[in-house]
Symmetry: C2
Subunit: 678 residues, 2 copies
Amino acid sequence: MSKEIPNKMEKLLFFLPLIIPLLSVAATCRHPLDPLSSSEFEIIRSLITNSNPSTNITFQYVALADPTKQSVLSWLANPKTRPPPRRATATIRFNKATHEILIDLEKKTMISNRVYSGTGYAPFTFEEQFAAAALPASHPPFVAAMKKRGLKLEEVVCACFSVGWFGEKRKVEQRIVKVQCYYLDGSVNLYMRPVEGVTVTVDLDEMKIIGFRDRYVVPIPKAGGTEYRESMLKPPFLPPLNGMKMVQPDGPSFQINGHSVSWANWNFHVSLDERAGPIISLASIYDIQKQKRRQVMYRGFISELFVPYMDLNEEWYYRTFFDAGEYGFGQCAVPLQPLRDCPENAVFMDTYMAAGDGRPMKMSNTFCIFERHGGDIMWRHTEGTIPNTLIRETRAEISLVVRMVAAVGNYDYIVDWEFKQSGSIIANVGLTGLLEVRASKYTHKDQIKEEVYGPLLAENTIGVRHDHFLTYHLDLDIDGDANSFLKSNLRTIRSQDPDYPRRSYWTVVTETAKTEADARIKFGFQQDELVVVNPNQRTRMGNPVGYRLIPKSTTSPLLSADDYPQIRGAFSNYNVWVTPYNRSEKWASGLYTDQSHGDDTLATWSLRDREIEDKDIVMWYTMGFHHVPCQEDFPLMPTLSSGFELRPTNFFESNPVLKVTPPHIVNLTNFSQTSNHN
Amino acid sequence: MSKEIPNKMEKLLFFLPLIIPLLSVAATCRHPLDPLSSSEFEIIRSLITNSNPSTNITFQYVALADPTKQSVLSWLANPKTRPPPRRATATIRFNKATHEILIDLEKKTMISNRVYSGTGYAPFTFEEQFAAAALPASHPPFVAAMKKRGLKLEEVVCACFSVGWFGEKRKVEQRIVKVQCYYLDGSVNLYMRPVEGVTVTVDLDEMKIIGFRDRYVVPIPKAGGTEYRESMLKPPFLPPLNGMKMVQPDGPSFQINGHSVSWANWNFHVSLDERAGPIISLASIYDIQKQKRRQVMYRGFISELFVPYMDLNEEWYYRTFFDAGEYGFGQCAVPLQPLRDCPENAVFMDTYMAAGDGRPMKMSNTFCIFERHGGDIMWRHTEGTIPNTLIRETRAEISLVVRMVAAVGNYDYIVDWEFKQSGSIIANVGLTGLLEVRASKYTHKDQIKEEVYGPLLAENTIGVRHDHFLTYHLDLDIDGDANSFLKSNLRTIRSQDPDYPRRSYWTVVTETAKTEADARIKFGFQQDELVVVNPNQRTRMGNPVGYRLIPKSTTSPLLSADDYPQIRGAFSNYNVWVTPYNRSEKWASGLYTDQSHGDDTLATWSLRDREIEDKDIVMWYTMGFHHVPCQEDFPLMPTLSSGFELRPTNFFESNPVLKVTPPHIVNLTNFSQTSNHN
């Protein structure tokens, strides 16, 4: 689900504000896709604040402005040449207007500053969410509502929820959020203790309350049983397992240079975007057969996370969150804890982001990178067929994982990108953290005779049904950017010849998608292999080189296509879309998602039905979860994961890991074990 | 795919024949589900051979006869009591008759000996496959055929293929196999070098050739590029990664007592069956909240692996293998190599099987058991919402894996059962090894204008399209054996009330399957949650306790339902079936699969449409792979995996791993690394 309650403590703990003299800026010898540095954030902030002496600027989204793909690739071909001009884009809000500002970071000049007046707004800042969430405490009707419920005001904490759009014809000129509150009083698990029935509406620009509803009173679920802190939990505990540790005496096998990572046959670049979270760029693999490095993916990232709840109550119907476009999925990244969030052999990477006032904030351990040796087998064969010969060959699987975790309010998303020496790229997302529950009068299932939109998880606690749709932007450039999308349909053929003993078989009927309409795939209805190929590069045998998508989830939306949240989330109507590469088409929910009307989404772009054959194309894959909560998810849910694999398919002339060399053997002499916990 | 070429060397290397005096038998103080011991195999062999002084008995399938579930459970409730009578079943062949023999292992008597005269035959033995595969070399027409091709006879090796059934009305009274041959001559990768066009037909009982066809000559694919042995491969190699090792100073956290395994909150029993491979029994989990051990799965195993090829040529149409029923999937188990097939911290388990002459053979390292610590996160949450409080809680995932590998001829199947402290049981299968390819005149895709049933992988090498369907027998007994199967359909509801801002939501409409027909599920058409519950056990909140099936693959068959292989493999027509527990319904393809007519399959049993509500039920899940080979699969394929999860769903009152204790910390002092490879 999707919201963020900002909090000064959190930022103090996560971020160290930096003041850096402008002079110290050196934009040279950096990778053109590196995220903005603290000094670059300072340049942006200074230019904007100096040109607008208003004190009321909020920096809603600050990011590197993508250099053109051609300029990046030509720089990459010869890194000694001058990198493409380094620019930043800032979406700011002041005087109730949204400004899109483009900045030249080298010349330290503002290239353009245009006011955006279309529908929708940029992501919230932590600060404005924090300020809005703090308003109810001094709002007399709210105070009275808490008093009426016998609640201690100081134990009430609130959260900001995006309001969505429900068919209003004209643009709402106010940036509005709804504030919902929770009760601590003996629990830190606020999400399990909603103060149901009370809704506060806030104008973010005015930063004042513009609406208040106290619709009904239901009991607040009890604090007991909601604790999840190790230090506070009471026995019985599961017994501890014996210690395990992954040791790498020579250290990891990867090198990190700035944000560029090289490991085994892979090179790629890792960056953080406030909205997308991790961005993997320029993933290329060294082909030992061809003795050359080959392009696989120009860029891959999570473009949107659409999380609609299935509760029509007044306090719930609008909860149809867009975690990237409304809350800034990358902004919700949390520092990873060594030994807990990542194993012993992980290496960590820090990042910077802009605070609401534009100042750079450093976050430590945003990413961890580690080699996974989980006991899987890369390939094997035992051959007992040949007289006087026994062959047993096995290679153990070791892969590389890049991880980020975003805590979007109650939900924690574990985002992994995994690289295999075989050429596969695996994206995996783990959902954990805390459910969003509705307080209810019910204490037993048998009392429930009406639709309550979810199962009873604990006394007075309804786990509201919801979805998670993660839409990945996958800009594969297989051996270059002129690619095509093949739908290989597995089709049953009746054998016509009566003399054939067999009556049927299946074959593959491959169709090249000519236009976007050909490439819209909804899973579950037929069995296809979906392959992005380079039609101009063929193997020695004449097969087009490619990568295929192997999904683990085939979930699609269940909301009516004409329902407003689904119109805004129409990019989830298909599991797969293919579009021609367009630098401006990054955000499946549109550039301005908060209060959007769904008129700038992947689904609307795709209506142009552009040509996609032998072009620079982008594949969009939506992975979905229909989440029917269960009691195991209370008070905190065990990780639920899904993902997909991008697997080379006639990309290599033959098995690329046939000639993998097993890792060096590690001999350990004495080691000790303490009984402390990590 | 599916065949086994037996070989004396292999057995000498894998197995140590044992002669054990009958007196040494001690059937006491063993688990009633333990697999047959070497002395028990000896009892069986002696009783049968002594009563039939024929020298020509072949032991096709020897197994523990399942004690009744009730007798096992009552023994388990009080292991001091006398265990259920220990019996064995042997399916033997002599004088062209199939005998089913039931033996009392304690009394050392033959309880019954009945002749089976229905259709179908028991699995092949290694010895008869080996003998049949050796026949062509002394068959003049075959010798001539090799000579005509200019092949050295001593470089030709052959394999036995089951012939299937293609509509003959009456039972074929001969046990027939087809023998196909391959050419080594500079390669050990025989499967990449088929001698195409030549088919030899053998009567296994007579052990003589009854048919020979030399239909056409095509080039044999070249030996070059087919090598996969580390010792023989030539540079360039992928660079070795730095050494990694999982250390557990206090050893693993599990205990193995005979075949019983206990780890963390799990207890279960591991056994080997010649046909099924690994059998997991009596999986139960300790519930720390209820402070008691709870039943989850009485038994889980792979009942059948159906592997039909999609090539209608005379030499190929019949290749529709049943790896369990025809070849004995468990019989094809291979010894696992430490550090390669299983990680450093694995513990291995040996097993015994019966040779074709009934003598016990020991196989070392049939199973490995290890704790997986792959860097995943069991659960986490970062809470930054509460003033002056920052909460960061994460628990790392450590799970337990039980692994067996079966090399069924060219294909290697990696079978994992994984147990999580959260209560999840995850079954995973990895496919690797060698493809079955067809030799062809073609050397480039552009030459191909006809249907060749697969892509060109290398010169003269067609990777024939095929499927793998793995059908699991999952006898869940959730808190006892009276269970029901719930289909929870996720259904879109249009909101009727025009005042509602939302136009739709989805809800869950749960239907209890009354009879088998209600429980046949084909994936892909609607979105269901499939849950096995105990309708008599409810949580405090009133939810029925259960486990749900989370599949990773939703593949279903593409052969016509009326095609003969699909009639025999009709158990794959649905992804999920539920049947009432019946001790005789273990083998989805029937007890006698070789040459079966499909009249004794899960699909035919299920036609009775028995009641399954509040009964002891078995869930059957079929996981499928449609395999379109690609050049990466040549000359040996990187592992392709899929699987499913059985996840507790309102089984526990709340998150069962909330109170997991992190493992002890491991402190390592000096260690060294040698540069040898493992």
